[in-house]
Symmetry: C2
Subunit: 596 residues, 2 copies
């Protein structure tokens, strides 16, 4: 996409007509880009200085695995030892260089052939990673080739692909979704899967394979990197940290991409609902949010919106709270507000909550085991007879709807599909019963009417915020730089995000260094460690310092829709600000005042 660049809000915009076109039911030229999407095509993300001109890699600190270092090194003998002339387990950083580099006319640099694959759930900004990669490759050598594998890792194994070229890519700049090449949840980890991937890489003569995914996908990227080294394949494997859940995070990865945008979309909706609750003054809204393993999303949304209560799974687990404890907490808040004449409010619930309440997680484990043994789920009295007394008691007290969900909604492995359990409805029912008891005993005199919401799919494919658009572009370019330098088994990292984007640092962190051993299916497995909400971390501290006040005051904060222009358009998430910048907002550019 070429156009005249204009300056606005300090950022470059490619030229775009300022005159909105008439509505065309045929889909705005048949392809359906809305006006805002069209405007976003012309947004030009700031590129970190170290990626602008010529650069070289410098090796940094050597790392150990997060846990089980010895075992993991023995499982990845090549990645954990010197390979291809590079030191093992060292992170690398990009620095400006004097020698000819990607900005030259090609020179001694030969064209590169790279593959790219999207793995796992959608996250805003994925297209910009691919575009950043493409733009880097084109600067490196215009004869380079980018192969996009379709529908996720399966596309790699089945060699289902399309060659990604500028003309097509330009239509996806700063756009949401993964639909350009699709995604999928298959894994490339078993010998036959690795062999299939190897065959595809050979067929395309790939110099590198970029895996855009979450913790499990990046764990598999390390397995693939190790396998390719073993097979003496030239294909280097580089991971890119993607997940709206925000749990792929460590020293070098300030945040995974997509978290910023998804939380902003959810917070927009929550803020709207909170203002509605304050206006109508008659409903409690129980809102479930995505985030199965970690509650970063719920915590960020709480900081954005100031709800009356936000449940944080890590806290539930730390205190070994059960369903009754959680129910009582919610009822306490509601009773307290009723005393103030307030019978409305908002409760945020992380998707994974059911698994973190010890009694419910025990029940689910027992059900999983029982159904694996062939007990008929339709015969509920038989089901109850096979449960431990505690679980049987809990199960009997659940609503029929929730009992059905626990028994009927199972994934292909026979496990309960936690994301299908309507925890918000379960809690509404149980809180209602608890409040009815209190009313009978005279300790509660309020009115309780509640509505349930779930926000998940709404945030995964929205237009990326300026932050995610810029971050993803840098990540893609970083991945390109790592492959061009012949590195493998690294995750592309863009750090120092508390600084303006031109000062972001770029490098690669060994995938192995993010791993520890985790008990899965009865075996210790090396996996990238999930970053859970830290009880002593700044975001949790910020929340706990205020929640007693938010519970009773109506200090609702409505973040409004994501803006792409104007003073607040360049602000990143509050979590990032608190974790990296002492609460000062992380901005893509220094403000005009700072420039003076």
């Amino acid at each position: 996409m070429v156009g005249v660049a204009t300056q606005e809000n300090g950022l470059l915009y490619r030229s775009v007509s300022s005159k909105p076109r008439p509505y065309d039911a045929g889909g705005d030229g048949g392809k359906g880009l809305s006006h805002v999407c069209l405007e976003r095509l012309s947004y030009v993300p700031v590129l970190p200085d170290c990626l602008r001109g010529r650069h070289e890699l410098e090796e940094g600190d050597a790392r150990e695995c997060v846990g089980g270092h010895e075992v993991i090194c023995s499982l990845f003998p090549r990645l954990s030892n010197a390979h291809g002339g590079h030191s093992p387990l060292k992170m690398v950083n990009l620095h400006p260089a004097a020698a000819p580099g990607p900005d030259s006319e090609g020179g001694e640099q030969r064209p590169l052939r790279l593959g790219v694959v999207l793995s796992g759930g959608q996250a805003p900004g994925g297209h910009n990673v691919i575009i950043g990669l493409h733009d880097y490759l084109q600067r490196w050598h215009p004869g380079s080739t980018l192969v996009g594998f379709l529908a996720g890792p399966r596309g790699v194994m089945q060699n289902n692909y399309k060659i990604l070229q500028a003309e097509e890519l330009d239509g996806y700049r700063n756009q949401g979704g993964f639909h350009m090449i699709g995604s999928g949840r298959d894994a490339i980890a078993k010998p036959e899967q690795l062999a299939a991937a190897e065959k595809t890489c050979l067929a395309h003569d790939l110099d590198g394979m970029i895996v855009i995914g979450g913790d499990d996908s990046n764990t598999n990227a390390a397995i693939m990197a190790e396998h390719f080294l073993k097979q003496d394949l030239k294909t280097n494997v580089i991971g890119v940290p993607k997940t709206i859940d925000g749990d792929l995070k460590n020293t070098d990865v300030n945040i995974s991409f997509g978290f910023d945008t998804a939380c902003k979309v959810y917070s927009e909706m929550i803020g709207n609902i909170m203002i509605d609750a304050m206006s109508a003054k008659k409903y409690y809204h129980f809102i479930r949010l995505m985030g199965r393993a970690a509650s970063h999303v719920t915590l960020e949304c709480a900081l954005q919106t100031h709800p009356q209560l936000a449940l944080i799974c890590e806290e539930v687990a730390a205190h070994r709270w059960g369903l009754k404890d959680v129910t009582r907490q919610i009822a306490d808040m509601i009773a307290q507000r009723a005393e103030l004449g307030k019978n409305f409010g908002v409760v945020l619930i992380p998707e994974g909550l059911v698994e973190f309440m010890h009694d419910v997680s025990t029940l689910i484990a027992e059900l999983n085991e029982m159904l694996a043994k062939g007990i008929n789920p339709a015969d509920q009295s038989d089901v109850i007879a096979h449960l431990t007394p505690e679980s049987a008691d809990l199960f009997s007290n659940l609503t029929p709807g929730i009992r059905s969900e626990l028994l009927e909604e199972r994934d292909p492995h026979g496990n309960v599909q936690v994301s299908h359990i309507q925890t918000e409805k379960l809690l509404i029912k149980l809180v209602g019963l608890e409040l009815a008891r209190r009313k009978a005993s005279g300790t509660y005199r309020g009115k309780f009417a509640a509505l349930a919401h779930f926000f998940g799919y709404e945030g995964r494919c929205s237009l990326p915020s300026n932050f995610d658009a810029t971050y993803c572009n840098a990540l893609g370019q970083a991945a390109g730089a790592l492959v061009a330098s012949g590195r493998t088994g690294l995750m592309a990292t863009v750090s120092n995000l508390q600084q303006p984007a031109n000062k972001w640092t770029v490098g690669g962190t060994p995938l192995l260094s993010m791993m520890h051993l985790e008990r899965r299916s009865g075996r210790d497995k090396p996996v990238i460690k999930k970053a859970l909400v830290e009880m002593g971390g700044a975001p949790m501290a910020s929340y706990t310092s205020m929640r007693a006040i938010w519970a009773i005051q109506d200090w609702c904060r409505s973040p409004g829709p994501i803006q792409f222009r104007g003073p607040s358009a360049d602000m990143a998430s509050i979590t990032l600000a608190l974790e990296t910048n002492e609460g000062q907002p992380c901005l893509l550019q220094s403000s005009p005042e700072d420039d003076c």
Copy 2:
């Protein structure tokens, strides 16, 4: 709020710091305005030229009621005859005047005392109506008083109020929600209710009462206006057209306020989900949208997003489709897409659908009647025994969850609460069964997995779009001008919305002229006629011309989040563009090209 004005995007902005402040968990000064909300405080809506300087009212055409003219006139003898020196049933228009007017230093104009009340469900822009009213009053005479009645019409009857002053109002400029004074669903229509309202108006010595509400609230505004005339009260009553449903619409009311913003919020979410469906390629998303009586919201969202199918209640009623017909249509679309290898898509469902399918509406009517007679809803076999054979058959084939919703969720009048019926889940279940039948018979070979969503509360309190902020401000000022001119029984109207906002026309339309007779509870009642989707109207024609293509192609259109700055920020809804401007976008300002 006073500040230095800046020009941007052609619009005025009051000065605002461009430097985002650090995150303050205490709520940004304790009050919780987010950065975007703070930015919106400084937005200055364009004021129509005719409201800027001095103006006078000119009487226009005389009107007849939409239906039952004679009967309605006999029920409203004062409003339908000359009163206070004004002609009956004539609309009035504001025109610039040479004589001293509200912009003068007060002069002969005495201070006015007005009351204002929000009635019914929340809609984006309500605060701006009140602020427009206040700003008009202050220009009229700085000694004027604005009384805000709290929690809706009940506040009028109970004289529960607060005096609205500039300092407080400035904090709500261009903000969403009704929380400044709250709203409620009580009616002021019965003799004792009217007497209570009369007493309040006398206590405050009110020159006028502004009722911001939907069709029923404005019907009641006419009843109150008639009553006050009868009692020789000086309080004039003026209505303002509010409803996100878009069904309060006629010759003079191009659109009710809130529709524009709410549809944009829903369309943002739907667009995100459509892109997600296209990316993951494994789910059908069934999305229920607000709109009980009319399907304007669903139709606008369909035009914004291009879903695979959108059900329109008016069409369902016109063809007398039943639940089986609707199920079959959805299944046909899904089967057709499965032939193309596509097992994903989006179906939009208006909230009111269950009432428009003839078989379901008959069943609901029978259930309402039966339960009013005291049949025990817990005894489902007894319930079935009391139904007609057709209804009994339908009821037996529903899911247990839906049967419970039909029997248990009843409003205070004993009627089924249609908004609580999860039609999207009912249809998922029935479509699933239909597809299973087709699979068994070999006519369908796809995979069907579906997810349910409901968007309603998310759109009622969001930050109003530039259109709604501007429209509401003009409506409030128009209401002020009508009261100042001693008019009663009118709805404030701002028309000509296809023109830039400075050219909008302003006036008042007799509430009676919008009425017809409707059978309610066995009696003919004069009520303001709801505007349903017209089968031959431009929006429906636009949809029907494309739906066969949208069903099989993936021309999804993701409108993205509402923008307050930039080229598309000033665009109004597609419905308005199609109904008033031949599909050309309605913009708040003429584009730069037009100005040349």
